[in-house]
């Protein structure tokens, strides 16, 4: 019997890039198949072609052995293909039920009538384990719940083929497990699931087969059961991957650069995010903050960066001298770098080019402006240096940064911040959403900074990462910060227990 979905010799060329080169794959009903690869390997192009967003230059798409040519997402939906994008396509001000029926004519051509389908919607939500009232605005849901709404939207259209693009990138550990459950249940009732990911955990948790892509080509296909992890890693990166290792001997914690005493943090109009925080950040160490996201880590980093004044207690930025109320600009000039967790919302401006994005945190630095006029040459030279040293793949330094892939945006942001982070580097989820090679590169940068005598505050929800690079760890949970304790004196299990305490 023909597979439910088959791609044959799909080729797609963009100016200067061969995004897909002779790509072929098959998915059977009830099967969970992964497409694994680094950022820019061509995974998303494949998915967009299947979902009708992009037309291939050559090759065929077959559903149940019949050639199809989806010309739009609506076309694809009519053929039974549902896609859940990495960045959700939901309307935050509309309710769960409205979002599910939105764009589906069977729910009413001119008016949204979610009420007509209430029973079906409730059944779908129950199947997906979403305990939200269908009348809740989507904007009030957390990311995991929104993803379930996206899946419900696809299933409402009777999708027999479900494509998930990096579905676990923004999920917590617990939410990931829930998603894996859902995927298994959908497969059990015959849905073909195609999962795009660059995380090996996803592959081993839930997939039957995996296609590995590199530079636009499928370089390997494996049955997941019985395939060793290393084998997949080698396929993905095209060779062996050297993970950076913390070298205890080089760790020589020096004087305290930032000291916090009984600090309580709250955003205006919100309840306190963290209470009574006391710790020192030393030169020559990586101090990690573990914890489920949303437990005050963002507030902590902003406070250390001079963006959020503490509600009570005191923060002494000893490395910045005697400045009484240190501003973000003053701290940067004194040697602070800040890689925020919310890269898109905070660290860059998508429509500005790479040079101006470098200028963003440098315009008040000596050499970057004179008599109030910018010296763009200085920023351009620095941009070229960062592009070169951090291997930012971009057509040009004058390209709008929004046009780069997420990994390359992150490399530019980290490279820019490390340029002025001579003393302290605040890094929130610096490797999130990056591919294996880039993760290794970023972690090496953090360790190099520490070995040069800098201090790193690393916020991460990935305990493996923390164990690889951190000297000490704190845990943020229910408004408190536990620790810090030395990594050598604790275990992953102990820290994991604190995280959920």
């Amino acid at each position: 019997m023909a597979p439910l979905l088959e791609l044959r010799a799909i080729t797609k060329r963009y100016p200067g890039v061969l995004a897909n080169d002779d790509v072929g794959l098959t998915v059977d009903a009830g099967e969970v198949v992964a497409v694994l690869g680094e950022n820019g390997a061509g995974k998303s192009t494949v998915m967009n072609i299947i979902a009708g967003l992009v037309r291939p230059d050559a090759g065929d798409i077959l559903i149940g052995g019949r050639t199809v040519r989806p010309r739009s997402p609506r076309d694809a939906a009519a053929m039974g293909i549902g896609m859940v994008h990495q960045h959700f396509k939901l309307v935050p001000t509309m309710t769960v039920a409205e979002n599910i029926v939105l764009g589906d004519y069977r729910a009413g051509r001119w008016l949204l009538r979610p009420g007509r389908n209430a029973a079906r919607i409730e059944a779908l939500l129950a199947e997906l384990g979403l305990n939200a009232d269908p009348a809740t605005p989507v904007g009030d849901l957390d990311l995991g719940a929104r993803q379930k709404v996206e899946i419900a939207k696809a299933l409402f259209r009777d999708a027999g083929i479900l494509i998930l693009d990096e579905p676990t990138a923004i999920l917590s550990r617990r939410e990931c497990d829930q998603l894996y459950d859902i995927i298994r249940r959908l497969a059990a009732r015959g849905v073909a699931v195609l999962l795009i990911s660059h995380k090996l955990d996803d592959i081993f948790a839930v997939c039957d087969r995996v296609y590995v892509m590199r530079q636009g080509r499928v370089v390997g296909e494996r049955t997941v059961a019985g395939t060793p992890r290393d084998d997949l890693v080698r396929l993905v990166v095209g060779g062996a991957l050297e993970l950076p290792e913390r070298d205890g001997a080089q760790s020589a914690p020096g004087q305290a650069l930032i000291r916090l005493r009984d600090v309580t943090l709250r955003r205006p109009g919100a309840p306190p995010a963290l209470r009574d925080v006391t710790f020192d950040l030393h030169a020559g160490e990586v101090l990690a903050v573990a914890g489920v996201e949303g437990n005050g880590q963002a507030e902590l980093v902003e406070a250390l960066a001079g963006m959020l004044p503490p509600a009570s207690g005191r923060i002494d930025h000893d490395f910045a001298g005697q400045a009484r109320r240190p501003t973000a600009a003053a701290l940067r000039r004194a040697g602070l770098g800040h890689v925020p967790g919310d890269r898109h919302g905070m660290a860059m401006l998508g429509d500005m080019d790479l040079r101006d994005n470098v200028m963003l945190t440098h315009f008040h630095m000596p050499g970057f402006a004179r008599f109030g006029l910018l010296r763009r040459g200085t920023a351009a030279a620095l941009a070229d240096k960062v592009i070169d040293r951090f291997e930012v793949r971009t057509p040009h330094a004058a390209t709008a940064i929004g046009r780069l892939s997420g990994g390359n945006q992150q490399k530019l942001v980290v490279g820019r911040e490390m340029n002025h982070a001579t003393r302290v580097l605040l890094a929130a989820h610096p490797t999130r959403g990056l591919d294996l090679r880039t993760i290794a590169f970023m972690q090496r940068q953090l360790l190099d900074h520490r070995n040069r005598g800098g201090a790193v505050l690393l916020v991460s929800s990935d305990l493996a990462e923390i164990w690889r690079v951190a000297d000490r760890v704190m845990v943020a949970s229910s408004g408190r910060l536990h620790g810090p304790v030395r990594i050598a004196d604790t275990t992953i299990e102990e820290v994991g227990a604190w995280m959920t305490a």
Binding site: P15, A328, L349, G350, D351, L360, F363, G372, L374, R403
Partner: protein
């Protein structure tokens, strides 16, 4: 530069052309509705405004205040502050400038002119700064504040030229002639083109350098795009909002002072009718690019002067011209929305 960027520029230029074309077609329809020949109308319009020396001089005269106020609007809009109050700022600038030279008579010429222009800038800056401060300090919508400020300023002018500042004769709602020393002379003899033209061009260059090459202009651009990124970058975003509104109001105030000093030589009722709203259209058509503002202002000058000629020679009612202007403004807004979408799609 890569193809994508050039491609987008090309598409934008094409879209701009479409907007103008759509405006012309729509205007032609209304002209036909009024029972006149659209081609003859356009011929008269352009023939007088661009084909005759005197007509073009009048275009320039009209463009000068629109250029200055348009620059002001561009500065505020770049900061994502919607200054709808150029009308009020023009009026307050003119009142303060006139009041200053009337209060201190006998200043030597150049000093009187300097005081006049400086007070015009100060008046507009303070008036705009109020809206900026309310927005920065309390989050009050600058749109509502500046619209309300327009009514206050215009009514205040109406009262001033009938009350405290009315001419000695007490006949018309206007002040006495202001001292000659404080006024701008003619730049081109035989026309009404005054030295305000040079001021407008100088202001264009200064605003261009300030917005494109200065640290302040960079901060304005960052705050205008995303205040959170601005705070991340160590920019005092509220201060930048206030400063941008000071600059924006100051330029509008200068437009008011220049219009009095160069053209009317006395304060009078309704001396800049609707200039503030036109300035918004001027700035939008120029895509908030300072160097494009003078050209955009000239286009609106052509519309105004040409339509005057059309009214005289073809007997076409003036409101048809306003319809054309409104269509161009709608087109610019639509274009801005399209552009925002393509930028977001690219990101």
């Amino acid at each position: 530069m890569d193809d994508g960027l050039n491609g987008r520029r090309l598409r934008e230029a094409g879209a701009l052309g479409l907007v103008v074309l759509a405006g012309l077609v729509a205007a032609a329809l209304f002209v036909m509705l009024a029972g006149k020949d659209p081609l003859a109308t356009f011929r008269v319009m352009l023939g007088y405004a661009l084909g005759s020396g005197n007509g073009f001089a009048e275009v320039v005269v009209r463009a000068v205040p629109l250029c200055l106020a348009g620059l002001g609007v561009a500065v505020a809009f770049r900061c994502n502050v919607f200054n709808i109050g150029a009308d009020g700022q023009i009026v307050v600038g003119a009142i303060l400038a006139a009041a200053a030279v009337m209060a201190v008579p006998g200043l030597p010429g150049p000093l009187a002119l300097a005081v006049f222009l400086a007070c015009g800038i100060a008046g507009g800056a303070i008036y705009g700064g109020i809206a900026g401060w309310l927005r920065a300090r309390f989050g009050v919508s600058e749109i509502i504040v500046t619209i309300m400020q327009n009514y206050i300023a215009i009514q205040f002018l109406t009262w001033m030229v009938r009350g405290p500042m009315q001419e000695a004769m007490g006949m018309f709602p206007r002040s006495d002639r202001l001292p000659d020393g404080a006024m701008l002379g003619l730049m081109v003899d035989g026309t009404r083109v005054h030295w305000g033209l040079a001021l407008a061009l100088a202001a264009t260059l200064i605003v261009h350098v300030a917005m494109r090459h200065s640290s302040f202009g960079f901060q304005v651009g960052v705050v205008g795009r995303n205040p959170l990124v601005a705070r991340f970058a160590g920019i005092a975003d509220r201060r930048v909002v206030v400063l941008a509104m000071l600059a924006s109001g100051g330029l509008a105030g200068l437009a008011g002072a220049v219009e009095i000093a160069g053209l009317h030589h006395r304060l009078q009722d309704d001396f800049a009718p609707g200039f503030g709203l036109l300035a918004i259209a001027v700035a939008l058509l120029a895509r908030l690019e300072p160097l494009a503002v003078p050209f955009s202002a000239l286009l609106f000058g052509v519309l105004h002067v040409g339509s005057g000629a059309v009214q005289r020679e073809i007997g076409l009612p003036f409101p048809v011209v306003w319809i054309f202007e409104a269509i161009v403004i709608f087109g610019c807004l639509g274009l801005g929305a399209v552009r925002a979408r393509t930028v977001r799609a690219a990101a």
